[in-house]
Symmetry: C2
Subunit: 426 residues, 2 copies
């Protein structure tokens, strides 16, 4: 779950000395920190709305410790949440980390009894959403996230895995039920009806919200995507990939917070990330206060990153399929001669077209829920002038509807960026 606000002083699960004494018993974290418990310093990390998160610094390096209480930390015991989420997060770090080493924090230790994981602490990186909210760019972003998506989604799909290995992984992640339920409810259901956690810029957008809820084309499209999320087991997803779960720094991008990991349609991850680039695109207008016709430099860059993310994802995914398509799906042995190889290559393109169609739909669904639902992002909530905020949100809502109800009409990523420009200028 996204952490958009500084955390209030939370209940601390671990006293500092208890934590360092515990870490001293763990080989990998101890090696990374260097020295012994007496040399280590513990800081609680402010972003922990849901979990207890600590940075531990040693002479040689630092580690991050994340402990999941059986509830949402800022809400307390009134909002129970399975602490098993940390197990799935850790296992996803392992599976995705194998596929895309360096693109996420290295997992160092899992303690299933304490519901605690230890991973690399990513130094000198900033949460992407914070950087975008300051109007800054991060060169190479689309290339880096597109590469992460291609590697992780390909490696955990039936194109790469033998069916027996894939089925074992599916069985394991099927148990992340409670976290999946949050997505099922928040993304596809609650925002379309009266629900106490929904919020939007009111009264400015009241009419738009009423119109969305009465729009049967939107409701059917959202329900169809929910059915796809519930029934597809195409690849192991991050499950909540947005600009708050990407850290950027001089050495690239790191993806973290995999606690919603589950098998699902690839487009859920791809479209989710694109939605947050598009939110930043519309939010830039809101920050300036006056919607001004020409895009600013960041906005042009953001749409370029939308295209880059998809284009790099598509090309890397295709390259991986050509070089490493050793899974049980599309068995290479059937397409060994020249005519077979050509037919398979055409089908690879068609497969990616289907992933694009899914991605466009899920992008629309994610935009919608971030505009009028519970977890509104800081890009938008940080815009203090409600009129300016409503204006850019209204434009984003237009895009959300178009992507949601006509996903298959957007046949290339350029159709998506064109639609964003069109929605912005009304």
């Amino acid at each position: 779950m996204e952490n958009t606000d500084p955390a209030p002083p939370g209940r601390t699960a671990f006293a500092d000395r208890a934590l360092t004494a515990y870490l001293e018993t763990l080989p990998l974290p101890r090696a990374r920190l260097g020295g012994g418990a007496g040399d280590w310093r513990v800081e609680e990390v402010g972003d922990g709305n849901v979990n207890f998160v600590y940075r531990v610094l040693g002479p040689s390096g630092s580690v991050c410790v994340k402990q999941a209480p059986p509830y949402v930390r800022v809400a307390g015991e009134s909002w129970p949440l399975t602490p098993e989420r940390v197990v799935h997060e850790y296992r996803a770090l392992e599976e995705h980390g194998r596929a895309a080493p360096g693109a996420l924090p290295a997992p160092l230790h899992l303690d299933r009894d304490r519901h605690l994981l230890v991973m690399e602490y990513v130094e000198d990186h900033t949460v992407l959403r914070h950087r975008l909210g300051r109007g800054a760019l991060h060169p190479g972003l689309g290339e880096q996230v597109g590469d992460y998506l291609a590697r992780t989604l390909f490696a955990t799909s039936d194109l790469a895995l033998p069916a027996a290995d894939k089925r074992a992984l599916v069985a394991e992640f099927e148990l992340n039920t409670e976290m999946c339920r949050i997505m099922e409810d928040m993304v596809f259901t609650e925002i379309y009806r009266d629900f106490h956690r929904n919020s939007w810029t009111s009264p400015e957008l009241d009419a738009e919200v009423a119109a969305v809820r009465a729009d049967t084309c939107v409701l059917i499209a959202a329900a169809r995507l929910k059915d796809r999320y519930l029934t597809s087991r195409q690849a192991l997803l991050h499950g909540d990939l947005h600009t708050g779960s990407v850290m950027v720094g001089a050495t690239g991008s790191r993806v973290f917070d995999h606690e919603f990991a589950c098998f699902g349609p690839m487009g859920f991850d791809v479209g989710g990330f694109l939605a947050h680039l598009l939110i930043a695109y519309f939010a830039a207008d809101g920050r300036r206060g006056t919607p001004s016709p020409p895009e600013d430099e960041q906005q042009a860059w953001l749409l370029d990153q939308v295209e880059q993310t998809w284009d790099v994802f598509r090309e890397r995914f295709l390259a991986l399929w050509r070089s490493s398509g050793r899974g049980d799906s599309y068995p290479a042995a059937l397409f060994a001669d020249a005519r077979g190889a050509a037919a398979l290559e055409a089908e690879r393109g068609a497969y990616l077209d289907r992933v694009l169609c899914d991605s466009v739909g899920f992008c629309g669904a994610e935009l919608m829920r971030r505009l009028i639902g519970f977890a509104r992002p800081a890009d938008l909530t940080g815009i203090t002038d409600p009129g300016a905020r409503a204006a850019c949100e209204r434009a984003a809502l237009r895009l959300a509807r178009s992507l949601l109800v006509d996903a298959s009409g957007h046949r290339s990523v350029r159709d998506v960026t064109d639609a964003a420009r069109h929605a912005r200028t009304g």
Copy 2:
């Protein structure tokens, strides 16, 4: 797996007295049999190619005992096969039996250690394939199987189940890996290449088989369906529904042999069954020896059953969705007013259209593998004149290709039966 021949005298896992003594310890089987072990008679059932199957008769009734050795019984230890298959068969009997009581044998006992299940013995019923092979009809067949399909597939889908219950079931059946692997290999892969277990009417169909293997449209369509089998978790399937896994009698139809049960696309079960009605349709010509232009009575009835199976499946499924759509997919609360209800009703039709498209494709794939693969059915192998057999198989191959490569072009079940008539007359 289908049993087409009388079983050779197999190794007996249980001596009769050991079996009756064992059954005496089990409350439900004992109650159904009546009396005590001394009153019971054990018969080995001839159809057990894969498992040891016994009928046990008592004063009040009879039970069927099925024990899975860790190999395919007729092949012996040279063909290992997980004995866990019996666990999944039993669990599917429970889940499907709850949805469609009376449509399958009542499960009475599962012994996970002995890899053994006890179920109701279905008296006075004949294996449907045997009856069809004698040119006979079974009035009400399509209605009965269509009803079974609607009830079982609906009840185990996200339309009926809360997501948490469905995910737990998916996790459980994901472990039927080895049996799924047989389907993945036999239906979608092995028949399209040189493989030692493939067989067909040779040399008559050698050219056709070579043409199928060189037909990239067929290969791509089969691979795409395999990907769908590997990635979709739409409902709990029987997994091998054909005319050899349906028993018919005066009181209706009973579906059995659920050892391939897994979550997959609904169309795999629906299309699989339709394929075997169509095999019987073409086989009727082969049995007569001379292909004669007008359909005989059984053939007309068989095509009517194809239409009945689909029509009844569709109508009952829709009725269940309207009355009992309490799952997490397509949440009813979003479609409560009149306009929402009308939109949802239209979407229900679109959902069933997508199931039909899947069913047509899987029907083509199943036809193909039963004509030129390993498990050729008795309908065809029982035709002694190779010329007559090849002629009807050639017609069936034409239909298989048309359904496989143009599944979406068959927009109603009548398009399928028209295509069958067209393929029959060349």
